[in-house]
Symmetry: C2
Subunit: 503 residues, 2 copies
């Protein structure tokens, strides 16, 4: 028996060595990505593209080589402990998806998305959907083909969705987004009809430098680990890295200091998840974050459930007042209102409030699902888009630039990604409700600027597991329940009911 | 014949694809290195080390795989054009060095240098050579073993030297450094005995922020291509990157604004070489810089032959005066003297002037050569070091911290690297002399702040060839002569003779 155990260990160690190498290559590629977005001079693009494709090809080859397949087969027939089994499960998933799709198709998709990006930009600039339409059609076709290689017997949209959220199931996504639509459409309608006008105390100009100091203040306040991170600016804010080095980016709009601040808090949530992954599992799935739903829940719980709470502003408003004279005399109530105001005529997802946000997601979800399932044609998209905005949000875009061309994702070939934004917000509310139950006076702690208990709760219930559990099991483990939209709906109904004086 | 040509092309294309992949992996590793020195938070080290070793192992495996050997064999038996032959020649060299050394030895050296670094630091801090001595002994032994694997019939120091300068030959290095010693020792002696005291106009405090603006001014003045580069600070200034993205770092000492400025100009020289490599050869040796002698000649020619010239300061002094009120009223002559002052009691290489600098190199060169050749023991180093300083520079270190422990290089396992510093300066003077002959009134152009002709001369004679020529051929091609110390010796004799009023 001892001999057998040794043999197993050797196989597992060999396997783990390969897994870590892949992950190191991917993390190196992540640094190249960060560099490109944040510090790379413009002229660097041609070399950077080649460097990134080389690393991506290498990581693909390492993942799909025959030996990896043999090691997986061998390990799956052996007695593994829970941690080992989880690592094998996650790598098997990646392996299957990577080996089933022919290299030529991956290359064709990559080529087509490279061409799609400038086409999408031009279409948006010139407000002319027909410039982007043929490429979008091609991309839809290629993505359907891609899905067909991975699983010809499955709904292709489901296959694509599972790329971003492998364990919650498309049914959960469909039910949840339908529930959000059905519940939020009347709530948004009520808000529109309410006579209440929330305060907008920031109407001046706020210089970027001071805003950056304020972003640093908020990261300090929330407990960002600067020894393992940094703050920079990027045109499209993101966070990236590993548990040893999880960086945050933000951007500053001189007319909207609150926007930058909330964006910083959002990225803090992502980064603090990454920082909380176990050090000793670096390079294995146990040291990597669960998929997009969980990741987004971490950004949203800090951005919305904490950062847009009255308690948070009681603590943080004085720091804003220190930085911007303008904010002196603004009462907490107004600050709280400003952070939660529903912009009723807003057409743009990235500028949306916590409530209408989900309707932007629902529209794209319904349309991309129908596209990939072959239920509608590309040229029907603009009209359908506008109709849905009218139906769900009570506003109709005048232009496609402000309509179906507003987001970059489709030009990246990303279909199935969007719903995780909403699922993440929903999960955030569920996690917050449980933390609130477990932690003594969480609201009071936030009011006092104390975030340690909440931080620890997230670490102990989510972060430190990496990918040990599947998404559904992780949620069950953390909250004692399955994934549910109940808490989110209660939260927004109560919050916006009070803010807008609805009965 | 047509079929054969196609076959050749296919083989060459396949080979080139492999070469480019290796180079992309190495360039990616270069970005990781830049990031680590410049922006990485301290906590990032454990992950970064693993990422860098993964890339380094992958690039080693790609270089040494059997297929690469077969492709090289096949290509060497075919009719190649000059460019193809140069690429094959350079890759063959790398391949031979990489395949001859067993992986275990590479790993042992890497492990030992990791241990050596903290030992060296501690030894220097505590001024106790005995802390570093055992590790240094081990490193010397491992490096001898390393050299023996590469070529058992060759002087081991020669093998190590060729790692950094493969084509000039150890004889040239030995002769040149002996010539520098023999000629410069009496010249330094004369300077020491001269009654002339050069001006030191900068005795105040100069804030880092303004110094950085001045560094940007000097990069603007010299024609740095910002679209393909950037300036940052790093504890040990360096430049790195590719023709598409060649970055400069510097550091600021508030008591020494000239030091930072000259360091920026030095790194500019390296970066502008990199920026001048041909775009369409990116990823092949024809798009990569020649070895250390040539690289150092590019930094030194800008730092010394341009940046420490009277003409340069006639143009640039007003910009210093704009930035620092202190410099108002400082005449060009004093500025020129300040940039060229010989610090007679200086024991530290990195703080040395253009003249005494080479004695620091000669000392280490003579000692490391004897160590690797087994002619002296490690415990003789401190005494020998101090004796040589007394003999060549007229100063004797009081401590080993200021003596043989001052530089980090040996703890990296770098033996044979140092002489390229001097060879580079020597080559800089040779190139400058030829450019001065070819360009109409170069001195006048520098005085007018016009650097285009000089820049073009360097591009057309050095940069754009990448590794097409070997170092010796490149020099011959650029200057019509073999490598020679004649121009450097004339240059320093004339310059310091005039500055110090020597007959």
């Amino acid at each position: 028996m001892a001999t057998e155990a040794t043999a197993e260990n050797t196989t597992y160690e060999e396997f783990l060595g390969k897994v870590k190498r892949i992950s190191n290559v991917q993390n190196a590629a992540g640094i190249l990505g960060w560099d490109q977005e944040v510090v790379m001079p413009e002229g660097g693009t041609p070399a950077r593209s080649q460097q990134r494709s080389a690393l991506s090809a290498i990581s693909h080859e390492l993942l799909t080589d025959d030996e990896m397949g043999e090691l997986l087969d061998e390990l799956e027939s052996e007695d593994l402990d829970d941690e080992q089994a989880a690592v094998v499960r996650e790598v098997r998933r990646e392996y299957e998806r990577a080996t089933r799709v022919p290299g030529e198709l991956v290359e064709e998709i990559s080529r087509t998305t490279s061409e799609a990006l400038p086409k999408w930009k031009k279409a948006r600039e010139e407000d002319d959907f027909s410039i982007f339409a043929p490429t979008l059609e091609k991309l839809v076709e290629l993505e359907r083909e891609y899905a067909d290689h991975i699983d010809p017997d499955k709904d292709p949209y489901e296959v694509l969705f599972e790329e971003y959220e492998p364990y919650l199931g498309i049914d959960t996504a469909e039910e949840t987004l339908a529930e959000l639509r059905d519940e939020l459409v009347p709530l948004i309608e009520d808000v529109r009809e309410s006579d209440v006008e929330l305060a907008t105390p920031f109407e001046g100009t706020y210089d970027a430098e001071t805003q950056e100091e304020l972003s640093r203040d908020v990261l300090d306040t929330l407990g960002y680990d600067w020894d393992r991170g940094r703050l920079d600016t990027a045109p499209h804010p993101f966070s990236s890295g590993t548990q040893f080095d999880a960086r945050v980016t933000t951007r500053f709009d001189e007319s909207d200091p609150l926007g930058a601040l909330m964006s910083t808090v959002h990225e803090f949530g992502h980064a603090t998840y990454t920082q909380g992954l176990p050090d000793d599992q670096y390079g294995t799935p146990l040291g990597q974050a669960r998929d997009l739903t969980v990741h987004e829940s971490q950004s949203r719980v800090w951005e919305n459930n904490v950062g847009r709470s009255r308690a948070f502003w009681e603590n943080f408003l004085p720091l804003v007042q220190e930085r911007f004279a303008d904010a002196n005399g603004v009462p907490v109530d107004e600050m709280y209102q400003a952070a939660n105001r529903v912009y009723e005529d807003n057409l743009i997802r990235v500028e949306a409030d916590e409530l209408t946000y989900h309707m932007h997601i629902v529209v794209r979800f319904e349309i991309e699902k129908a596209l990939i399932r072959g239920e509608i044609e590309v040229d029907e998209v603009p009209e359908l888009w506008n109709d849905k905005y009218e139906e769900y949000l009570g506003v109709r875009p005048d232009t496609d630039a402000d309509g179906c061309l507003q987001d970059i994702h489709w030009s990246h070939g990303s279909f199935g990604y969007f719903p995780t934004y909403s699922l993440g917000s929903v999960l955030a509310a569920q996690l917050y409700a449980k933390a609130d139950e477990d932690i003594d006076d969480l609201d009071g702690q936030i009011r006092a600027g104390e975030f340690d208990d909440f931080h620890d709760w997230l670490t102990e219930n989510i972060h430190e597991y990496g990918c040990l559990y599947t998404t559904d099991d992780l949620i069950e483990h953390a909250t004692g329940e399955s994934f549910t939209a109940e808490y989110f709906l209660d939260y927004v109904t109560e919050k916006y009911g009070a803010l807008y004086d609805l009965e």
